[in-house]
Symmetry: D2
């Protein structure tokens, strides 16, 4: 049985395990105050060219979204997301459980457009409604598409016009920034967003996501939020060592390029057989449209999302 | 300046004040354990023909929705409502602040249809999504329309099929049950819903809504919820005395009939001038479609929702 | 059967009902934007000599505590209270349900001393613990005692030293300010506290408490909090009319004086029979120490807190 | 500079890294549905002799406490803990942030006694107070002491008498069960508790704690809670592989014995120099009482908790 189901069905890139091995017996303070966490954060600040960004490492994408977004909001403030946005549909209401409404806006190819955001803002004017305060997008989106630089700039302009913070869910950020035709790199994204996270779990790490808070007004007391949500790991080094390894010489981008290239190969094969895609393949997520008979045949040899 | 803006711009029906006057010096226990609360609850149980219903009095509609709905739900459970449902848009995210997602479904004339609920349920199958657990509707709806008995029965059937509790927001329930052409009375509603509330504030009371929990499985420990949310009034009698007065000889229905009749009169006048309505007038909420020039003219003598 | 159980076993002072009667048919905007709410707030600002204080009317003491305190706090911030403080033990964990720890400190005669607060602060230094942010006291306390002006000033100094907001629960504030030997009036309290509330329910109103936010930094967006917690009454006028009546010519203080005088009379009688008190009677709460045989005898003619 | 500060200042036991290495390229489903998670859970069920226990792996002790305890409670229910209990003082109010009061009871040598729990229960009788619902203890306690079997049985009896669930925080459970003089093993604990967790992070793992829910009534829908709190790791295998390694041949106990033995050696040296301990050393936490001059001298060569 083969599986193309997801990018987290195996362990880590071999260099990740080697790095953990190498650093294993070095004695360090706990709770993310170790030298590896410092070094990994410095490295990331260099890569994104934001020397004052605050950087914290957490263990899952839901933690990254939940803790970061909720730390920005007052109790009556809300988040705008696409209807298929991960926080809207696939995090078991984590943000509502933290007290915040998530507005689910219609999207095109998984992407939000500025107009629908402005329409929403026009309807939220007084204390009988929540006050939208963060714009949440995913890059790559949940359907594998990418916002280009101009689209990101347009969303930033909407955020400026309506006092919204701009947050980018980067669970698949590696695959987005190395994608063919993409023109927004990590420096662009860090320059446009108030905060975002860089996903490790889906790009070669054992576990771990790096939360980047660029806006200084949002950096205060973040460790209180981490601890309160159970995200401050006693051995914070475990994730930091991995990010240091992923970013010290470009392994992060290499992994993403490999994943995209393999997906492209698969996509070409599927296209060669005459099948179309629900979304044009841009990264490593593919949504081919197969007839039922093909699906049944594929299920014999390949893991299927329809089996569970 | 005249105002037709809403049904809570004045105080109470004169008989309400008289009843408060009459009972004022009677000594009673606090926190809703008084004899008036008992009497009012008994009266309501008789009216709805549900001798085992639990009945509690609270001071606002948002309290009624918030406390009742949240008391039914586990942290990962959610509520289905129409996109214009009061809890979706006009309660400042009260239910999200209590931890629960509110799904906003498209509606026709303010009303939900069974099919869209079934579609939603089909998408919420495992622990990566919330689990929808309550169906919330308003009667009359936020646009003044009414679910007829058959429509209510169809929704009940959907609830049964999907293990959903059925909750009805009755802020304007009086206006609905006495509306011309309505075929679902309080007994029908109590028989179909797991819980609902009967609005007093918009139908002659100074303040107060009566929460009715019909389903015995949902009645336990409700006073803990009331107290924790700040809704257990030391002088619980204040609301109970009013409901006793409203229901002891039909004043509640009389008030509602009067409001509907006055609205009908207004509607006929508007129609006579050739204007249409966004929704066919059924209760005491009117949504006439006026040209801008008429709106400007009306604003000179009448309070407008567009002025604030 | 006589009852001295509490100060909310009857309705309202007759003038309260008269005021509601008089204003009943005046047409006004809803949700606390009416002219009565404006007038009552102006009156209170005059009485406390704080022309810039924000004033809001809510229906219960638990609402006043819950909404005001939670609106001041970030998710990881906590409240310091006496072990017998109302929010510690008699509000069903309302503040914890809003996400905040309540530290219960030992007290003398129901009162907190500065030293124990400083000790607590010394233990809460980093992100592994909550950050205490509000000092909560009750005046009169839950055992009927009163903080004098010097004690209040000492607590204010502690608050200044530790960046704590100072909040005073005034459910029984009337009884405190008119008590014999009291030297802290409403102007003093308003000058020392960041926020407090003035209780109406226990001093002649049908219902209602007036939240006073003196510190301008804490006033923003409070109506969002009121609405989200279900405390924004459609007929906000109902409470405002009562506070206008209570404060327009000193009825509030007259009611409190009467209650204290009656309690004094009772206390003297009890003392004359040779019984002592757990707390020296200062306001209208009495805690006589009776032998069991006396308690049993009293139960025959008087309501007892030990019966429920 | 040497550090005896804690048991998480280094990486993992070498066999842990080897196990991750060995299993690294095996393809498995995500989110804890992999074969390693199944195998590790089966192994633990065998060890504790509870074939029907539900077992879940999470990444931190705060997660284990927060998610498990909050999943057991209704909104108005609370938790009883010792005043120095980890959830009382060192988890940044995580449980209050989830809505629940934590009662902090006085303790002797870090341990709760049944009587103080009964006293607390006697004060929590109606809806004006929270309803205590879980008894939380730590084994070993926060001061390194151990409840013996008789003490655990006495607490279980209190729980039975008062409808309390019994939860044990096992961050240092390994050190407790192998401690000299201890008479309660994992089988005893699993037989007495409704739920507990077995700490990995402080006993040789890179990260990870195993939540064990013995009581079948508390097992339902736990994965919803895990996901909503951000604890469901995409590569759930990462923790499972470690627990499988720790428990397949007793490595877990061997690690704990080693830690205790090293601590005993240290303790004997300290005692030989004539110093006493605040708590008699039982596990691997030592609390020697040094004069200031000794502390200053030690700080030159050893990491100190007083430096940060």
């Amino acid at each position: 049985m083969f599986s193309f189901l997801n990018d987290y069905s195996e362990g880590a890139h071999p260099r990740i395990l080697a790095a953990l091995q190498e650093t294993n017996l070095q004695q360090e303070p706990g709770y993310g105050l170790d030298s590896f966490s410092q070094a990994a954060a410095d490295l990331l600040r260099d890569v994104i060219k934001q020397p004052k960004a605050a950087i914290h490492f957490v263990s899952t994408g839901t933690q990254a979204n939940l803790i970061t977004l909720s730390s920005f909001l007052k109790s009556y403030e809300s988040i705008i997301a696409a209807e298929h946005g991960h926080i809207s549909v696939h995090e078991t209401g984590a943000l509502e459980a933290a007290g915040h409404k998530v507005h689910a806006l219609p999207s095109q190819a998984g992407k939000l457009d500025p107009e629908s955001i402005c329409d929403l803002m026009a309807f939220h004017k007084d204390e009988h409604s929540v006050r939208p305060r963060v714009l949440y997008i995913s890059q790559a989106t949940e359907v594998g598409t990418i916002y280009n630089k101009q689209e990101l700039q347009a969303l930033r302009a909407v955020c400026n016009a309506h006092q919204l913070y701009f947050f980018l869910d980067g669970a698949r950020l590696g695959n987005a920034v190395v994608a063919e035709g993409n023109d927004a790199d990590l420096v662009d994204i860090a320059g446009l967003c108030d905060a975002f996270y860089i996903g490790g779990t889906k790009n070669g790490a054992l576990l771990g996501e790096a939360v980047v808070i660029v806006n200084p007004a949002l950096q205060d007391s973040f460790r209180y939020h981490l601890k309160q949500r159970g995200a401050l790991m006693a051995k914070g080094r475990v994730i930091a060592v991995q990010f240091r390894e992923l970013f010290r010489d470009g392994l992060y981008f290499e992994n993403a390029r490999h994943a995209n290239a393999m997906a492209q190969k698969l996509a070409h094969g599927i296209q060669a057989h005459g099948y179309a895609f629900a979304q044009e393949p841009q990264t490593n997520q593919l949504f081919p449209i197969f007839p039922g008979i093909v699906i049944e045949k594929l299920k014999k040899d390949y893991e299927s999302p329809f089996q569970k």
